[in-house]
């Protein structure tokens, strides 16, 4: 199925948006490495849902607005985004940094949400669980740390042009701006996760070195009624490394909510 790519100007910021499929709207919020390409799991999901994938302000081909200082700014921005596009209540899915944004949106208001799918989300701190420091890793080290399957890591495409390298640097800069300190969490978030009032599923790879799977139960216990699915032989990117299993689980959860 073909997907479309275009730009929307929302809250004074031009963002790139990919859209594909038909059905209930599903907004996917990407992680630190951006959303340059329409990935196989997006294509799979678009057979059941209308999949909407924005590139965050400050990432990829989207503008970097003056007002963007924190994850809180992004959370409010995406409420504007849903309003502006007239999407109505959406299934919200976010991974890593984008999972943090999704959680922050949900504690602010669930009025425009139908469900919440958090994939190895950042946002909270779990004492005693050691995270890897992506900011001290070379690009090669980071790619390796993201995957359970070393062969898959080795096959990940590296930036092929100056333009693509610039996007990598831009994404890394905004990731630092949003997540350097406190490192990838908001100390206040866990105080308010009880406000999440839509069905929530949390997915985690069992071999996630960036945000270890031990974060999963902690997150689950903070959100009323949330379920946790741990995916075996999988790193920080279940939607890439175990795309088929991920899509099946996500689809079953979201369709279960709709039913």
């Amino acid at each position: 199925m073909a997907h479309s790519e275009g730009f929307e100007t929302i809250t004074g910021c031009k963002v790139r948006v990919m859209r594909g499929g038909a059905g209930a709207p599903l907004v996917f919020l990407h992680g630190a490495s951006g959303a340059a390409k329409w990935l196989p799991f997006m294509e799979e999901l678009s057979s059941r849902f209308e999949v909407i994938v924005p590139e965050h302000p400050g990432f990829g081909q989207s503008d970097t607005p003056e007002w963007l200082d924190s994850i809180s700014d992004l959370a409010f921005f995406y409420h504007d985004f849903i309003d502006h596009l007239g999407l109505g209540p959406v299934h919200l899915m976010g991974t890593s940094l984008g999972g943090w944004v999704a959680a922050e949106m949900a504690v602010r208001s669930c009025e425009m949400l139908r469900s919440l799918t958090l994939v190895a989300p950042a946002g909270i701190h779990v004492p005693g669980v050691k995270r890897a420091d992506m900011f001290l890793m070379s690009p090669e080290e980071l790619t390796e740390a993201l995957f359970h399957d070393k062969a898959m890591a080795a096959n990940m495409p590296q930036p092929a042009s100056e333009e693509e390298l610039m996007v990598v640097l831009k994404n890394r800069l905004m990731t630092a701006k949003l997540g350097w300190s406190p490192r990838f969490h908001n100390p206040d978030l866990k105080k308010w996760l009880h406000r999440v009032s839509v069905p929530t599923m949390i997915l985690w790879g069992d071999d996630d070195r960036l945000l270890p799977a031990a974060y999963g139960p902690a997150y689950r216990d903070l959100i009323p009624g949330a379920t946790l699915e741990v995916i075996a032989r999988c790193g920080h990117l279940p939607h890439v490394e175990q795309a088929d299993l991920f899509t099946r689980k996500a689809t079953a959860f979201i369709e279960g909510v709709a039913a």
Partner: protein, 387 residues
Amino acid sequence: MKFYLMHLMPYADLDLDYDKEYNSAWITLPNSYYDPKKGAKLYNRYLDELEYADPLGFDGVCVNEHHQNAYGLMPQPGVMAGALARRTKNVKIAILGRALPLLNNPVTVAEEFAMVDNITEGRFIAGFVRGIGAEYHAWSANPANSHERFHEAHDLIIRAWTETGPFAFEGKHYQFEYVNLWPRPYQNPRPPIWIPSQGSSETIDWASHPDRRYTYLQTFTPVAMLAKYMQMYKDKANEHGYEATPDQLGWSVPIYVAETDEQAIAEARPHIENFLNKFLRMPKEMLLPPGYLSLKSMMGVMKAKSSIGQKQTIEAVMEKGMFICGSPATVREKLKEYHSQIGFGHLLSLLQFGTLPAELTRKNMELYAKEVMPYLRDSTVVRSAAE
């Protein structure tokens, strides 16, 4: 020209085999490598060396700030400046500098610097930097906000020094209901300000602005780059409608003087190579966190063949003019040549580097002070009189 003794205070007793297990002498090297018994001796030895600069006739002594590393043991350089304030009588004391973006409260630096300025009755020089990239890892300061915080902290400190308090300060990163500095600086309106940098057109543009006219200090750079940046400062000053004076230009460089060229190279070699390959060692991601450089500059770094991590030799740094080494005559000639080409007014010599031991440091200081400095003082005075 004025002469300063710069010190980094490295942990010279570092187990140099650390790099078999760790990839850097910064941030991630466990502090179990630091032995307080040895460190205490080093601190006192290094303070002795800085104090010795006073009777040797230096114009000033300089300390600086680095965190969580074996390269420089002065995370709080104000402690060193305080110790030197009472034990020296004539030299200026420069803190080059404090890394302003790291600070949660820049007023602490305004206070600390004003105190040293008072105790020394105005022998103080203030330095402001962004700090090298590793400091942002060490202090969890967000490198993406580095430029914003530098400028805001700078503006706050200048106002604290020069405006009658109390006043309120409302910035993006810093907010204060009352700023009312006790003590005010001794020097009126404020201490001289130096801006150390490894070379940045943005920094030069800012430092040379007529509202500031800060002394731009080029640190540890090939001499060709030094010439380029000094010229850039002069050109910027011209664009702003004034002529930059030598007092606005400084250079900081490691120097080693011995009886002959051969002896100087033989004596300096292991210690400068340790400085380059052991103490400065860090991966690119540690040195250049996101936001430390502009995206455009970062792109240049990514495309350039990296010299970080490659083993450096004494010959390579001497060739580039990043290290001046030789007999008194050789060192005099080189410095005289660079001075006449480039026209800096402040020369900061790093006369202890890496593992250079106490006896050689002292010999280096004495030869430099007795056989090099007077000659250059005379020749550069003649030169400026002839202009």
